[in-house]
Symmetry: C2
Subunit: 414 residues, 2 copies
Amino acid sequence: MERIYASYWLETGDDPARAAEVIAGEQSSGTFVALATETPALKERSGARVEKLEILGHSTTPSLPGGMPAARYTQCRLELSWPLENTGASLPNLMSTVAGNLFELRQVSGLRLTGLRLPRAFVEAYPGPAFGIAGTRKLTGVTHGPLIGTIIKPSIGLSVEETVEQVRELVAGGIDFIKDDELQADGGRCPFDERVRAVMRVVNEHAERTGKKVMVAFNLTGDLDQMRRRHDLVLAEGGTCVMAVLNSIGLVGLQELRRHAQLPIHAHRAGWGYLTRSPQLGWDYAPWQQLWRLAGADHMHVNGLRNKFSEPDDSVITAARSVLQPVVPGVEMVSTMPVFSSGQTGLQAADTYAAIGCADLIHTAGGGIFGHPQGVAAGVQALREAWVAAIEGVPLQQHAGKHPALQAALEFWK
Amino acid sequence: MERIYASYWLETGDDPARAAEVIAGEQSSGTFVALATETPALKERSGARVEKLEILGHSTTPSLPGGMPAARYTQCRLELSWPLENTGASLPNLMSTVAGNLFELRQVSGLRLTGLRLPRAFVEAYPGPAFGIAGTRKLTGVTHGPLIGTIIKPSIGLSVEETVEQVRELVAGGIDFIKDDELQADGGRCPFDERVRAVMRVVNEHAERTGKKVMVAFNLTGDLDQMRRRHDLVLAEGGTCVMAVLNSIGLVGLQELRRHAQLPIHAHRAGWGYLTRSPQLGWDYAPWQQLWRLAGADHMHVNGLRNKFSEPDDSVITAARSVLQPVVPGVEMVSTMPVFSSGQTGLQAADTYAAIGCADLIHTAGGGIFGHPQGVAAGVQALREAWVAAIEGVPLQQHAGKHPALQAALEFWK
């Protein structure tokens, strides 16, 4: 029978084998006390199985409080598996199973979901993204290299007119992609409908004149009826992308948006920090993004190399690679496009390219574009040229010799 | 203008005042670099404000990794406020604002959302629970004292027939409330539809004979169309409650279920551990439950005193009290009923009653009922008698003198 596999980093004050069995029990047929009704046959059929348990080390203090007191705590790599029959191919019930009550167990002084191997049934049950990399390239006309993107800033507080001014400058400057801030959905100063209409006038005019339609990810995060209505407005105005904050709407929110949408869904991960910032608790990005891709995320944020946040580069690279891996190896599903952001300039282009081995991504820069001494157009051009150099394997300084926008950028990028 | 207030426990390696401003900026009009477009007028109008910053202490090591290195780290109590205009009364956008990117900031080596004060507009924009305490009492006929409840165990793996056997015993034993396990939604061994039909036959027969309809919280967690259809089946079969796992369906999932539902929604918090288990990260229960109550949760889990999980009693009490507080003081909204569970028996009745000052709750026990030497009926009776003693202020031993079921229970409860 097909099974679901989940890997964890576990720390326990208990005997690791016993702790593993307790976790497997809590997340399947067991409970705190032995029950006559939990027969060996039932357990064999429906219980979670401990597939692997590998001791990594020991410590004398627990990572997290509240667990059972012990003289020493053991860190392990744990893999559990469940029969698919327990949940069926259901994303919400998968979440309750692999990331439910187990984090609260007293046997646990640290627990982190590090990986997920799903059976093909999930790809059959869920649509995945409708556009992904190929669809996004088609809609933007960017056939090679990354989409050069930016974000409207200040995050919140601009009027519609001020927003449009920025968009006008960016569109004229040759940008491929613009996104709303995750805080800007339908604020009183910049209502969604007015913003979309005014921004799309600029985008459409430019597209009619030049043939290039800039993709704008309008943040429609809200209640479901609001999101549907806002999507329809974006579509009607000729827009080509909508954005939603995953943790704020939840799995059902994304599923329903995907079901309704005729545009790519730019998925923002705001709140990700509370799921991941303690290394001994919560979620790695790799298993987390699988759920959202299955539910339909076309673009997923992965932070950026040398970002302004607290995430180290190796974590960013692992996250980005995970987005480019199939959700279920060997089973076809439209590929989600990773989005690199936060403190980005052309200086990260070569390393990013080297780390993920392709340029199927959105690279967004704020100061890296707006700060260019020759203006926004030169900022966009410089970032694009940095990517050409990265892809062709030419050192940045050398490439800059023949490209004045890049040359000027190298003086302020840092 | 009305504002949203959020309190945090913050640890920072930076100057605390500067860290507070960075957090306020990141979650409103600011970004990592100074922008000419972030004018003083814009900041005054749309920026988050640091309302309070109180130093609590210092340490030489950071609680969480990834922050800026420092010789010492400062712990503080921080309160921020935002103009309601930034988000409007929108739960998903409130979440992005008070619990968005801020946890990832390098200025942060610990950050936990501890409180939320919302303007009245949220109560006007969202329905809150439709049934709550009063509606649940009406549907169950339990006019005083707690609902005595239990959960079907093993969590998963029972067939429909085996589930019905347990229900039959419980219903005959006088139970008020039964819930599915959070892992049991529509598994292959115990499909939702069959389970509901078979269980409700037993519940309905008993109700017809005795006038007492046991409330069964059927776990309908799933995709939205599944949840709606399952709700309708429960309703059609005469059921009086549905259950959903909040973290697995998300805010939009609960909102849409609430909009569709004609039955109380029993809200399970599986996954709560990853949001809360690190004391230096994530969410306190008090602000978290406010969002879900606004969205429509009728019953909310708060763990139990001396539970089998890692949560200490003071945290359980604070959580339970928060559920009984108004979401917005002075603004009427149906009251959500707290649910106490995990390792519960009558021994926790008096302390629970003393801690929250009322018995408007569901008290679920597994082993505390099934383990009774005289059977399930005596187990239910004993738990109910323990509550009578608690409410009347009679010592348990004394009350047991006149109540044999309680007397026998005291010999195995521990």
